[in-house]
Structures are given as structure tokens and as C-alpha cells.
Amino acid sequence: MNEPPVRYNALIQMILCRWRESLRQPEGIFWTFVFPALLAVALGVAFRGNARPDPSAVVVVQDAGAEAVAASLARDGGLKVDRLPRGEADRRLRAGKAAILVIPGDPVTFRFDPDRPESVLARHAADGALQRAAGRRDPVAVAFQPVTEQGSRYIDFLVPGLLGMNLMGGGVWGIGWVIVEMRIRKLLKLQLTTPMRRRDFLLSHILARLAFVPIETVPLLLLARGLFGVSTAGSYAALAAVSLAGAFAFAGIGTLVASRAQSSNVVMGLINLVTLPSFVLSGVFFSTSRFPDFVQPLLRVLPLTALVDALRGVMTDGASVAAVSPQLLVLGVWSLLSFLLALKLFRWS
């Protein structure tokens, strides 16, 4: 009647149960798959290339000589020329729908905001078109080769950020929340009356998490590739290594978050304390370079900043594992410190 003990390995059983529980939670599936996908699609569409301010939108103010000026500008195929009365033209400029106003006369007047990059481009284009139409000969022949550089669009910036966000969320919710749930349900207490090893208990959470990394990253990568052509410049091995290092660091932080909390409110507060500032400070949605220089060193040692920077390095710059080793070091230190602290603080019963 007694079975051989090898058939029931406690660590494997616990990992299996964590997996089953996670996969059977519809809300977990939503936050892991659907929400990041929706974010990627929404932001990818909102910030896609042709929604950027258009340097070719030139408005000729309806005035004496407007027809000739418009005709000269139209010879440059790259400009979209409208003729409008002054009031309407000014409104368009203010609203950012026109890059520049061209007011016919002698001299021809360019009205534009020098702080808007597309207006400065439009000024040069319009000036050149008018001069050439009036007979200027360009002494050097030039040819143009327009390319769309993948990796430089907003979606290319965003996808590594979303991946990092996903790995962070998986760690702090998937471990922090789940352990506290077990504590509230007195399940942790019950398991402690068995010969279960505490080491196996914590290890099962971490290993179950690491096994979730492909689920949290691959679908998002495929979606970004299919919809927006976001590709990975570096190797997939490097991408996997960075993702695992990130998942490991946030598994540690998740364990730390769960180490004392005895109610869902407390753990939710702690999780928000970790995640919300990270969304802003770690360069998920916009570059950390927008923050003042003196806080940069601080931002760089945040776990999510390190993870997102490393992911971006691999995905957009084709960096190797060695090239992102500073970020991996930061993640390693976070893993180590959070696990050690969590073990010290952990409230078992």
C-alpha cells in the first residue's frame, strides 16, 4: 500500500500546483497576456510613425501672388501645399496641423515656431523649393535614399519596457500575492505542520516563476513582431538570459514583499509601492534621460531600470550578454539582497 517515496517529490508537486493555480486564474491570464498586448497595440498605434507632426504640411496664405508661390512649392513633390485665408492658416499653425505658413510678398515671409523640429525642416524645404523655382541651380547633384530604420520607432522603445513590466508584475504579484494568500488561508500554517521543507516551499515559488518567463515574454514578442515588425537585433539566448535574470530579481522582491504581510491590503500596498514608481522612473514608457542628471545614478540601480535597459540593449542595439553585464550585476545584487532579507524577515507562522 505504501508507495515508493520518489514518486512524490515535494518540490515538483509544489511547482506543479503553483502552475495549475496560476493557469486556472482568468484574472492572472488577463494581466499576463491580454493587458500587455492591449497596451502594446494601443500605444503602438497611437505613436506610430505617421502620427508624428508632419514637416510637409505647408500652408500658403491666400493673398496676392499666392497662386505662383503655391505652384513653385508644389514642384517639390515632398510638400503638401494648402492655400487658406490668414485667420484659418494661423489657427492651423497654432494647432500643430501646419508646419509652416508661407506669406507671399517681397520678401516671402515664413511664419513658424523654431522650437518645433518639423517647422524647421519645413522652412528649409520651402525655401529650397522657392529658390529652385526662381532659377537657382544647385551646384552638386544629390540623390535621396529614404529608409525606415526599425528599432528607432516608439514601438521599438516600448516593447522592451512592456516586457520588463510584465516580468516585474509576474514576480511581485505571482509570488508576493500568492504567498500572502496562503498565509491568510492558513494554508502556509497547515503545510508547516507537515515535514515539508521551508527551503522547498520558497524554492517552489521561485522555480514556478522562472518557468513562467516564456509565457510572459514570447506571446508579447510575437504580437509585436506580427503587428509592428518589432524584431530582436541581438540573440534570443541573450534575451532569455536577461529575462531570467529579471524574473529572478523580481522573484526575490516578491518574496520580500510577502515576508511579513498578513492581509491582502498590506501586500497590495507594498506591491503598488514597488510597481507604480517603477513605471514612471524606470523608463518603461519614456526614456529616463528626461529626468535631471543628478538622479540618473539612482534610476540606473532600480531593478526595473536595469532590466528594461538590458532588454532594450539586446533587442534594439543587438547587445551581447557581456555588453549588458552592468545591468545583470544590478539585477544580481537585487536578487541576492532581497532573498537574504526575505529569509530573515519571513513570518512562517
Binding site: 500500500m1 515538483i12 508537486q13 500546483c17 488561508r185 494554508l187 515535514p195
Partner: protein, 251 residues
């Protein structure tokens, strides 16, 4: 085995201001079913949690199988099965998955299927625990407690909140386990249950044992000491009320 399965002497458990257990002595003999009775807040659950090694006593000695918690913890745990009051299993795991997990914690024991069969849950084996009734959940808890083929079963209020049929079923399972030679320590609020299941009971109040003995002996003692109000046979309930008083407790 020689000596008691559980031996508690001079147990004190104090939280910051509250003294939950205040010098409690009891010993559970191997092979008997021992009941802890007492009002809410009497210290039953605290006593049980100290005995099963979840809480450190403030003072006093606890021995299980003659061993002390600390160095021998893992050895004691592998010979003991526990069902805790209000412990809730993960909602979206099946009965078989939960039992298999608990089975995996122990070095030896019956197969998960056999454990599920013992508590009469074979038909529910593939059901998520969230879909079980209260009685079925308690039987699942019992299956988990039995997973390591334990010598000692500790059940904290295994029948609280269950309907009479479910309580009877748990009672039968307890008796069946005692008849197989297991030692059982349980706490309960139900006097008729204690009277039916337990070889000996301890009535606990304010963190102390205030009466100890076989249910029949306690009932007999009451009959000798007090004026019997009615002609009906005195029950353990009468003993309990005469000892702990009729007024309602705060909790």
C-alpha cells in the same frame, strides 16, 4: 510505544497583554482519542498550535512521542497529521492534486487514491476544492492529515459549522482511525460528539484544564455533586455548563 503520545506540562502562552494559556497540563496516551473542550477563547487552539509546533510556548514543556520541538521537529512532523480550524485549500486545485501535494511532504504513506477513498471522496477526486461542501472540505482536510500514515492525528474543531450528517461522517472517520490504533487529539464545541468519540476529555477554561477524565466519569461526578433538575440523564453538556457557567462569553 511507551509513554504518552503527547505530554504537556505547565504550558504558558502569553501574547503582549493576553495570556492565552495559563499553566496547562495534559497528556494524551497512545491509542486513545482525547478531546479538548472549552468555550471560545479558552485557549484550545493556542494549546493545539503549541503542541503541533507552530507556536513557541512562553513557558512549560511540550513533548510529542517523547521528543521536543526544535531539533526533532522534522521527525515529529513526519509521524503526525494535523487538520487546522479554518485552513482553506486553494480553490482551483482538485481534491487529488491537494492530497498528492500533501502526500509528497511525507516520507511514507498510502497513495493519494487510497487516502481519498478512506475519507469517501473518490467521486470528487477530480473536482476543484471550491466546489466541495463544508463536510467534504473537512474530509479533504482529514485525508491530508492522514497523508503520512500518522501515529498521531491532531484535529482542531473538525466539525464546527457542519450539518449533523457531515458531523456524523467525520465522527465515524475519527473512530475508524482510533480503531486502527492511531492516537487522536481533537477539540470540539459539541458535547454529544465528545461524549461519543473521546475516551477522555479535558475541559479548558481561561487557559487551564478545569476538569479531566472519561466523559462517563465526569458525568457521574456531576450527578453526585449537584442537584439534578430533571429526570433526564445528565450529559456531558451539563458537566460543561456547570463548569464553565451559563453566561455568554464575549467572543
Amino acid at each position: 510505544m511507551t509513554g504518552p503520545a503527547v505530554d504537556v506540562s505547565g504550558l504558558v502562552k502569553r501574547y503582549r497583554q493576553v495570556t492565552a494559556v495559563d499553566g496547562l497540563d495534559l497528556s494524551v496516551q497512545a491509542g486513545e482519542c482525547f478531546g479538548l473542550l472549552g468555550p471560545n477563547g479558552a485557549g484550545k487552539t493556542t494549546t493545539i498550535e503549541v503542541i503541533v509546533g507552530l507556536l513557541e510556548p512562553t513557558a512549560g514543556a511540550v513533548r510529542v512521542f517523547g521528543r521536543t520541538w526544535g531539533r526533532d521537529g522534522r521527525d515529529i512532523r513526519s509521524r503526525m497529521g494535523v487538520a487546522l480550524q479554518e485552513a482553506r485549500f486553494p480553490e482551483r486545485l482538485t481534491v487529488r492534486e491537494v492530497v498528492t501535494q500533501f502526500r509528497s511532504f511525507y516520507p511514507k504513506g498510502p497513495s493519494p487514491e487510497a487516502l481519498i477513498g478512506q475519507v469517501g471522496l473518490s467521486e470528487k477526486s477530480a473536482e476543484w476544492t471550491v466546489r466541495l461542501s463544508g463536510g467534504q472540505r473537512q474530509r479533504l482536510a482529514l485525508a491530508c492529515a492522514l497523508a503520512g500514515d500518522p501515529e498521531l492525528l491532531v484535529l482542531d474543531e473538525p466539525t464546527t459549522g457542519l450539518d449533523p450528517q457531515a458531523r456524523l461522517m467525520i465522527g465515524e472517520l475519527v473512530l475508524a482511525n482510533r480503531d486502527r490504533g492511531r492516537t487522536i487529539l481533537l477539540s470540539t464545541h459539541y458535547m454529544e460528539e465528545a461524549e461519543r468519540l473521546c475516551d477522555r476529555v479535558a475541559v479548558v477554561d481561561r487557559g487551564k484544564v478545569i476538569a479531566l477524565g472519561a466523559p462517563s466519569a465526569l458525568i457521574g461526578a456531576l450527578g453526585r455533586e449537584s442537584v439534578v433538575e430533571t429526570i433526564r440523564r445528565a450529559t456531558l453538556e451539563d458537566v460543561y455548563v456547570s463548569l464553565t457557567g451559563r453566561r455568554l462569553r464575549d467572543e
